[in-house]
Each structure stands twice: as C-alpha cells, then as structure tokens.
C-alpha cells in the first residue's frame, strides 16, 4: 500500500501531506502536530474530533483524509490561545462552561461553523447545530449559554 500526497489549506496555510489511502483526517492532523483535534469514540458519535472543512463542521475521525484534498481545513489551533482567546473561549470561561475540557475543542469548532453560517441563531439553531458534540461533564446548559452570548454579540 503506497503513500500518496494530498494538498489542502490548513489554518490558512497551504500544505502537502503524505497519507495512507485509508487514513482518516484526525489521525493525519494529530501526527502532524495538530493535537488540539481530540479523538474520543473514533466512530463519528462524540464530536471531540470536529474540524471545519469549507465552512462546515465535520467529524475528522471518520473523514477520509484524501477527501480533504484541495479543501480548506480549520482546526482549534486557528481559533485563539491563552493570551489572545477567541470571544467564544473567553465566554466559555466566563460562564464556567469547562470542566475536564476534552469536548471543548470540538464544541468550539461546531459553534464557530454555526456563527460563520448564521448571524442570529435561535436557541433551537444552537442545539441542532451542536447536537453532534457530547459532553460528559457539564450538562450542556453553560456551553450553550456561552455560545448564545457570543453569537448574539456578533449580531449587534
């Protein structure tokens, strides 16, 4: 089984990667150092591995890496850091919405995709768009409150 190369934009930079034919995007990203992409279930049911491709939130654990060829990929590494947090990251902290934190990169990527697509999401929109992100700690309410806060600030 030979390695093959694919090229896509990752967090604004165009890069070429050698991949195995069946390799999934999460495995590729993590072995290339994008370890903010988390792996939970590895079968498309938990959302920890969520990244944004061409504006849409997807599960990178089941996405074949070769389907990303020529596309625009964003991971949590594009979002903000400790010194310069993204408004969503700041809001999650303000709302006390983070416990163990494992689900949070995926949560943020789903929320970011939602905010890119909709300027004034309703509570229902937020719940529907984030229905693929499980959290085993918080009970969701504070996470949704943080997303709502930022999505609504965005609007004004």
């Amino acid at each position: 089984m030979s390695r093959r190369s694919i090229t896509f934009t990752i967090n604004g930079e165009k890069k070429t990667f050698e991949i195995e034919p069946g390799e999934k995007l999460a495995k590729l990203l993590r072995r290339k150092g994008y370890v903010g992409v988390k792996e939970g279930c590895d079968e498309g049911t938990c959302g920890a591995c969520t990244v944004i491709i061409d504006g849409h939130a997807v599960f990178s654990c089941i996405l074949h890496a070769f389907l990303a060829d020529g596309r625009d990929v964003r991971t949590i590494e594009s979002i903000g850091d400790f010194d310069n947090p993204h408004p969503l990251q700041a809001a999650l902290v303000e709302e006390g919405a983070v416990q163990c934190g494992y689900c949070i990169p995926g949560m943020i990527m789903s929320a970011e995709a939602l905010m890119q697509e909709m300027s004034n999401p309703t509570d229902d929109d937020i719940r529907t768009r984030m229905d693929g992100n499980l959290c085993r700690c918080t009970g969701y309410e504070k996470i949704w409150a943080a997303v709502k806060k930022v999505a609504q600030t965005n609007k004004s």
Binding site: P21, G47, A57, F59, L63, H64, S110, T128, D131, G132
Partner: protein, 281 residues
C-alpha cells in the same frame, strides 16, 4: 471496506472513465461515511466523485431536482413550496454527519436504518442513473432490493427528483429512536392526497424495523376512497400492517416493533392529513 488507493475525478467524464477502468474494485465515494459500517475484508479503490456528480437543489416543473452529492445539511436548510425533506434531514444523526453524508450515498447503498429511502418511497421520487445511457427509475423500482445492484462500473446516480407537494397533498414523517441521534427502530413516511373529506390516494412507506424499506400497500388499499378520521387512520394502520414481518432486536420483540409501526404510521397519516387540509404540519 479497506481502501488500497484513491483517485480524484475532476469531472463526470473522468469519474466514469476511472470507474470503468477499475471495474468492480472501484468505489464511488461522496461523503465516505458508509465505510464506518462496512467490512475491512473487502479491498477497494475509492474514487472521489464530489467534483463529478452535481450538488444543489433546483425547481424543475413539478419537482425538485436534487444533485446526489448534496449534503443532508443542505436539505435540512432548504425551504421551498411543497418541499418536505428538511424534516427528514434534521432528524438524521448529528449535524456533522448531516454535513458529511450525501443524499446519493444514503440511497445508493441502503443500510437497514436508512431514512431517505423511506421518505422517497412515500413521495414517489424518481432516480436518474447515468452511464453510457441515462435511465430514470421510480422509487418502487429503485428500492426493489439493494440499489447498488443497478449500477454497472462507470454508472452513477445523477439526480433525485422529488415531487413538490401541492394544495390538497400532505406529508407525514415519524422516526422512533432511543436517543435523539440514534438509529431508527422504526420509520414511517406517508403521502396523502385529499378529495374533500376522503382520502384520494395514500402512499405509506416503512423502514428500519423491517428487512428492507418498502411500501405498506395493505394500509394504502384500506384508505383509498375512505372518509378521513383519526379512527380510520389507526384502523388502517393496524389492519394493513398485520401481515408484515417485523424485526426485533436490542431487547425489543417483533410484536413490539410491529405495534410501534402501527402507532407511527397512524401518527404520520394524521400529520399528513392535517397538512393536506391546509393545516400546520
């Protein structure tokens, strides 16, 4: 399926040429999510068809022409006169799956839990397959067994034509899961056309708790020409499904799934009737 290689097709002609050259080992791939459920023993070469097969939804006379690589999330977001598939899409799995999966992938290889075959059977949709020649199959023909049987190497699903509902017609949809994102235990989709207070025609389809999605013609026959009422719908659902074979599993008996089917078909008929009479559903 285990992928031993992959190929990208820039357009339809290229996709078809690659698939013909590969023969049975070639696997058209849209969202690629179905590989979560297939055996690793089977070795295939994937062909990315996303740039070859159309995506998008366009009105075409009395129907909507849906490109097979349209993501389920786009069906969920679309609004138009007589368009009902947003209700089917939003109930399917999770947003990320809806962003990845395509309608073509959902119906070209039907898994037991697949949602769209049930809805498309009720709506009497038509599927366009193109290879050296083009042919259109109605939903009953397309889903009369695993649709994969219909495709020769190089042939691809090129369009799904979904009738737009008009005044006097209604659609009802029920899907029972254990958790909101879970696979269906039983799915019911219903199309009805009203003639005053009577049912002119009904198309009733069920899936998940049966061996393969299909029409429940027993229910349809009992409703034809009958005066509409909740009691009539529930009676037709109960009697019309009585002879069918249901699948148990996950701690649920065949009798329970059969009962669930009757309840859901009854609910979907009620919903479709309200819509046909101009109500909110």
């Amino acid at each position: 399926m285990k992928l031993t290689d992959f190929r990208a097709a820039r357009n339809l002609a290229e996709a078809r040429a690659i698939l013909k050259e590969l023969g049975p080992v070639g696997l058209p791939m849209a969202g690629g999510t179905s590989l979560v459920f297939t055996s690793e023993k089977d070795e295939r070469v994937a062909v990315d068809i996303n740039r070859a097969v159309p995506a998008g939804i366009a009105r075409e006379n009395g129907s909507y022409r849906v490109g097979p690589t349209t993501r389920l999330a786009a069906l969920q977001m679309f609004r138009g006169d007589g368009w009902v598939l947003d209700r089917v899409a939003v109930r399917l799995a999770t947003q990320q799956i809806r962003n990845m999966s395509t309608i073509g992938g959902n119906i070209s290889r039907v898994f037991p839990w697949a949602d769209f075959p049930v809805a498309l059977l009720a709506l009497n949709a038509a599927m366009v397959i193109a290879g050296d020649a083009e042919r259109t199959l109605n939903a009953d023909e397309f889903f009369d067994g695993q649709p994969a049987r219909l495709f020769q190497p190089g042939e691809l699903l090129m369009a799904v034509k979904v009738p737009a509902l008009t005044a006097g017609q209604g659609f009802g949809y029920r899907k029972q899961t254990q958790t909101s994102a879970g696979f269906s235990l039983m799915t019911a989709a219903v199309f009805v056309e009203a003639d005053g207070n009577a049912v002119k025609t009904a198309r009733v389809a069920i899936g998940a708790g049966v061996p393969f999605p299909g029409r429940a013609t027993g229910v349809e026959d009992l409703l034809k020409g009958r005066k509409a009422s909740e009691a009539a719908f529930r009676e037709a659902a109960g009697k019309g499904l009585a002879e069918l074979k249901f699948k148990g599993g996950d701690g649920m008996s065949e009798e329970y799934i059969g009962h669930l089917a009757a309840v859901l078909v009854g609910d979907a008929l009620n919903e479709a009737w309200v819509a046909a009479k101009g109500g909110a559903a």
